[in-house]
């Protein structure tokens, strides 16, 4: 009798606790939770944890630590997570310079790295790795889309990005598709908050369009200053420049700006609607694209872990690569270099019922991969 009761309880608990894994899974999340980039990291963490919570799975532990946007700190945390916390998978890094400091050594130690955002070119081509997956995009993608968009109607573009790996990837990506003339190509400091000198150059440049890649606080500062400068050139950028984490702080100055993105809150599919409702219910704010990317990264890990043990790297990697998930982005699959193939859309910043957010305008690229996949031999 006792045995039967125990079996019944076990069966019951299993049915309520969602799918059990072959083996408990430990994930180490390193992300930016303090300093100017904290908004991005918090959305990453919250999006990721939302998927974990929705799964109801008790076999999964997530250890989260703040990298303060410092590469040296990220490396220390990664070492600690691998050696003393014994994590199986690392994830969460927002910034490409931090990712370059952590991911290559993590995969060399046999750990999976599933990126929620940073996707430097260096890890997408010849140096791709079986254990490295990117759930977001390849860094160049959203910039490529804006380059393609700028071909329609813009003859002379002023392009600007911060001087770090993703900034270089950004302008490289833009130029890969943009056929017109460049008024100037300017690199600013990472974390720069005053753009007066650059805005003066824009005014004098004779450009008919401006492309900026300025995530986090940098974009807030730039847009506010640009709005006051009296310069009347249209501004566009990748989705990061006008993402939900910065729009409330920029205010009306952002309205009308065109951007590219793999997701916007108005996407009309069941997964997106569920994600949006769950996220708003849980955190009482609109999610940014960082949250979507992290949500998908967690979904990918959950889906692989329900079918294979993470200790069997080959099987687990194969399951990850199948990308058997319902992404809020709609279509999502992995390319040969384990970076996404997805649609990229043009979005516009609008003010709806007092809330400043992004609205989808049109599709720029369908099933877009990246330029580096051909060099990846795995």
């Amino acid at each position: 009798m006792k045995k039967m009761l125990a079996a019944a309880t076990l069966a019951l608990s299993m049915s309520t606790a969602g799918t059990a894994f072959a083996e408990p899974l430990k994930i180490g999340m390193i992300t930016t939770l303090s300093g100017g980039g904290a908004g991005l990291g918090i959305d990453t963490r919250d999006g990721f944890m939302l998927a974990i919570k929705n799964s109801g799975n008790k076999d999964i532990t997530v250890v989260t630590e703040d990298d303060a946007q410092k590469p040296e700190l990220a490396v220390q945390i990664a070492d600690k997570m691998i050696q003393s916390n014994q994590v199986d998978i690392l994830t969460g890094i927002v910034w490409s310079n931090l990712l370059m400091a952590v991911a290559p050594s993590a995969v060399a130690q046999g750990k999976f790295y599933v990126s929620t955002n940073a996707a430097p070119a260096a890890l997408a081509g010849a140096n791709c790795n079986k254990l490295y997956f990117n759930a977001a995009y390849q860094n160049d993608n959203l910039h490529e889309a804006m380059g393609e968009y700028a071909n329609k109607g813009y003859k002379k573009m002023f392009i600007l990005a911060p001087n770090y790996p993703a900034g270089k990837d950004s302008l490289t990506g833009f130029k890969r598709y943009y056929k017109g003339q460049l008024a100037a190509e300017v690199y600013t400091q990472v974390g720069q908050t005053d753009y007066a000198a650059e805005i003066a150059q824009m005014r004098a440049s004779g450009a008919d369009g401006i492309f900026t890649f300025l995530p986090g606080g940098m974009g807030i500062a730039f847009m506010k200053q640009f709005a006051q400068s009296g310069v009347k050139i249209p501004v566009m950028g990748p989705g990061f420049s006008f993402s939900q984490d910065v729009l409330p702080a920029i205010g009306d100055a952002a309205v009308g700006a065109k951007a590219s993105g793999q997701w916007a809150p108005d996407f009309d599919n069941a997964a997106s609607k569920k994600f949006l409702a769950d996220f708003q219910k849980e955190y009482n704010r609109l999610p940014s694209i960082y949250a979507v990317q992290a949500y998908d990264a967690a979904q990918l890990i959950l889906s692989a872990a329900s079918k294979a043990s993470v200790k069997d790297a080959k099987a687990f990697g194969a399951e990850l690569k199948k990308a058997d998930i319902q992404s809020p982005r709609g279509k999502f699959k992995f390319n040969t270099n384990q970076h996404p193939i997805q649609d990229i859309y043009l979005t516009e910043v609008v003010k709806q019922n007092g809330v400043i957010t992004n609205k989808t305008v049109e599709k720029i690229f369908a099933d877009h991969g990246d330029a580096y996949a051909k060099d990846c031999k795995i």
């Binding site: 460049l182 400091q189 005053d194 702080a249």
Partner: protein, 307 residues
């Protein structure tokens, strides 16, 4: 390159310089009078910006927010002086650096705890919106001109305060001989608190004015703090005049460097590389200037009379 562009960049440099002066003036006063290295000065700048953004959001008025930023930063400065800094005057600089660094962490995490990690919204008041025409056919944001003007008024006010008032006399006396003015019966403890609160209020004012232009977020003070230290080292530690000239020098050098270096390099290498190398070199420029000045004048441009 046109004259109009050069003029605009010069104004940008001036504006950055004026903003740095507000930070550096407080820092150099505190160091000059009390011999204290205050790393938490950037936190007071942040307190000013957050106070202004919060009060402006409540009341709908930037100007009330600006007053609130002065009050909040001065109050935070006075409290910090009474509770923590007071115990550090007799310690060596390393202890001061450690304790004030701890204050940075406390202020940052405290602010995050109160306001969250997302940047706050603070806009420029309607009166100062938009741009005005400058000679040469270019336009310049009214708000930046207002910052330059505000900085000039503060600089003149500080000059009057220090050279013409009893408080200023005590500050000067404190700079040249701390023990002696105590022995002469001046209440040195109150003087220290007042000077610290004054420096804090200046930092808070800078934070509020810049907050409307940039973004109001946790950790906004630290990059400015580093520049402010460069300014007071160049200007001569403890000297207000040095802080003013140092700030203008750093502001103009930094702005002009960011603007001209890539252009000069573009004459020799491809534009993309010129942008990248020029951008990197421009960020080093003020430190190179500082090194050169220190090589020629090891105690800065206007070394304070004592020490």
């Amino acid at each position: 390159m046109t004259l109009a562009l050069a003029l605009e960049q010069l104004l940008n440099g001036l504006q950055l310089g004026v903003m740095l002066f507000l930070m550096a003036a407080g820092l150099t006063l505190i160091f000059g009078v009390m011999g204290l290295i205050n790393l938490a000065h950037g936190s007071l700048y942040m307190v000013g910006a957050f106070a202004c953004a919060t009060v402006a959001a409540w009341t709908g008025s930037f100007w009330i927010g600006l007053i609130a930023s002065l009050v909040a930063a001065a109050a935070a400065g006075a409290i910090v002086e009474l509770v923590v800094i007071r115990r550090l005057y007799d310690r060596d600089h390393l202890d001061q650096v450690l304790a004030t660094f701890a204050l940075i962490l406390i202020f940052s995490e405290g602010t995050r705890w109160l306001f969250g990690s997302f940047p706050l919204y603070l806009d420029i008041p309607p009166l100062l919106q938009g741009a005005v025409a400058l000679p040469g056919g270019t336009e310049y944001p009214v708000y930046r001109l207002a910052i330059i003007l505000a900085g000039a008024i503060v600089a003149f006010g500080l000059y009057l305060l220090i050279s013409r008032t009893r408080l200023g006399m005590r500050i000067r006396a404190g700079e040249s001989d701390r023990e002696m003015i105590g022995a002469l019966g001046v209440d040195i403890r109150t003087l220290y608190t007042v000077v610290f609160a004054l420096g804090a209020a200046l930092a808070g004012l800078a934070g509020a004015m810049v907050g409307a232009l940039q973004s109001v977020q946790v950790g906004m003070g630290e990059p400015v703090l580093i520049l402010a230290f460069v300014v007071i080292v160049i200007g001569g530690i403890g000297s207000i005049k040095g802080a003013l000239l140092g700030a203008l020098l750093v502001g103009v050098t930094d702005t002009m460097g960011r603007f001209l270096l890539p252009k000069i390099l573009a004459l020799f290498v491809a534009p993309a590389q010129a942008g990248m190398i020029g951008g990197a070199a421009a960020s080093m420029l003020i430190y190179i200037v500082m090194a050169v000045i220190l090589a020629v004048k090891p105690r800065g441009l206007f070394p304070a009379a004592h020490a």
